[in-house]
Symmetry: C2
Subunit: 253 residues, 2 copies
């Protein structure tokens, strides 16, 4: 069994702990939290530690701490030349102090603390500085997930930027849709099946093929009528820029 | 049983026909297509007509034709004072010629011709000029769908604009995500579980509550690093405008 220590007690730490506890490939040796009153479910208290000096030997240390704490916490680790990975989509592998062997174990999902997830469906993006270490984290990742990808720091950065578009910005468009509904006393519920179908389509079609709507058809009558209809300048502006961007697609074909 | 005639043979006509054929409340009397070689599945040829003059009497005529054909086709109908509805999200109820009683029967979904849909989950937005007619289309709609809403023309317009944001624009953001992945040799597959979760979240949270990411946190380091990373001016511009719009949210709270 691969012996693992988790450092951190936030969102990601909690979900990873739950996934490891049901698992025969790894043995969860310890979990470190910086505050004694931290609540972690699914782990017995005798494996909790609150002092980095008490960390035991393990094959893998997973730093599930805030991006900007990776450097400081990894520097404080009381050992050298062991395998230490972070879980960040943005931080470089070099954010980890180089007194240890370094890697990245990035679960590409948006976690909500009390909402259970099915880890087997979550892509895990891996990076390590040598192939022996890569095999260790690859084995660990495959023990909890069906989609494991080798992703270097440059690719991980691309993924993170892309994730902002498909997750954060998409959610913001949902919010604008909700605002337009609210203004006109229409329940936002009415739009939810459409939203589900928008996502279901990209299982079968590329987003380019799945594109529909007035911008795709260059239906200027509808576009102008929508722009005239929108009263909020910010919404108008977003409508214009995304319409223009879809129109530009025609030129890419 | 409510006797129905469908005029049109496109996407919407096909899906509505399939839904009505499994149904005890309505009787599908005829389907009109303007071209004799039109393929419609699930209807026997003896109920197909290719000439508006051959239309039989019915309780409801559903005009499932292109938006800009509604006026002309409804004008050519060889009868008066019967109930005629269109299926458009954009056209006004008054697009239908006023020699007949008018209404709207708008299924709010994005249909793909050969992809079966579960009509019971599709919201149908209804409008009629009098309450007797409303009750007819309400009965018909409820026989195929679990979510039926009275929606007037002004509200339908709002819904259509909102649908452009949550469906067409969202799909375009997926395309940008895919482009960024492709440029850096990362499979777009990696992002799909994240996209699914983005949508799943709005079942439990409002989009405003579900918002995460660098813009939400006003994390200027990450925002600037993403802007620096993007090489396409159009993508940069969309990133800026949507980030700004999310930042403005803070002021709304
Ligand atoms: N949330 C997501 O959806 C998600 C998804 C993929 C990857 N990630 C990445 O996973 C990592 C952890 O994210 P998270 O969502 O779990 O964050 P989180 O819920 O905010 O938890 C952060 C953890 O880091 C600890 N911490 C912060 N500063 C520290 C310091 N100076 N010394 C020691 N511990 C410190 C916190 O301790 P306290 O509780 O005592 O403050 C907490 O346990 C980040 O790199 C993040 O980018 C997050
Ligand atoms: N597609 C969607 O996702 C969707 C969703 C909700 C509502 N709607 C609305 O439903 C209506 C139909 O859309 P659709 O997607 O089914 O369109 P479609 O697949 O393009 O079909 C349009 C139908 O209208 C007929 N037509 C066009 N011009 C005509 C004319 N001048 N005279 C007679 N027939 C004519 C076409 O006949 P030919 O086949 O002979 O050209 C075809 O049968 C539109 O009002 C649309 O806004 C569409």
């Amino acid at each position: 069994m691969i012996k693992i220590v988790i450092i951190g007690s936030g969102n990601v730490a909690q979900h990873v702990i739950t996934a490891f506890e049901k698992n025969e490939t790894v043995s969860l040796v310890q979990v470190y939290a910086r505050q004694e009153n931290t609540k972690i479910s699914g782990i017995d208290t005798y494996r909790m530690v609150y002092d980095l000096a008490s960390l035991r030997e393990a094959d893998l240390y997973i730093l599930a701490v805030s991006d900007d704490a990776i450097a400081a916490v990894s520097e404080q680790l009381p050992f050298i030349n062991r395998l230490v990975v972070h879980t960040s989509g943005t931080a470089s592998i070099t954010a980890i102090n180089d007194k240890n062997r370094r890697g990245v174990f990035y679960p590409l999902q948006t976690f909500t603390k009390n909402k259970p997830v099915d880890f087997s469906q979550i892509p895990i993006c891996l990076e390590a500085e040598n192939s022996t270490d890569f095999r260790v984290i690859d084995t660990v990742a495959k023990s909890i997930s069906e989609s494991v990808y080798p992703i270097n720091s440059a690719q991980r950065k691309a993924l993170h930027v892309a994730a902002v578009f498909v997750n954060n910005f998409t959610n913001h468009l949902f919010q604008i849709g909700e605002e337009i509904c609210r203004e006109h006393q229409v329940p936002f519920e009415v739009l939810k099946p459409l939203i589900k179908e928008t996502v279901a389509k990209i299982n079968d079609l590329s987003p380019m093929q799945a594109q529909t709507g007035p911008a795709k058809r260059n239906d200027q009558t509808t576009i102008q009528s929508h722009l005239h209809y929108l009263t909020d300048d910010n919404q108008k502006n977003i409508y214009k820029i995304l319409t223009q961007s879809i129109l530009e697609n025609g030129k890419k074909l």
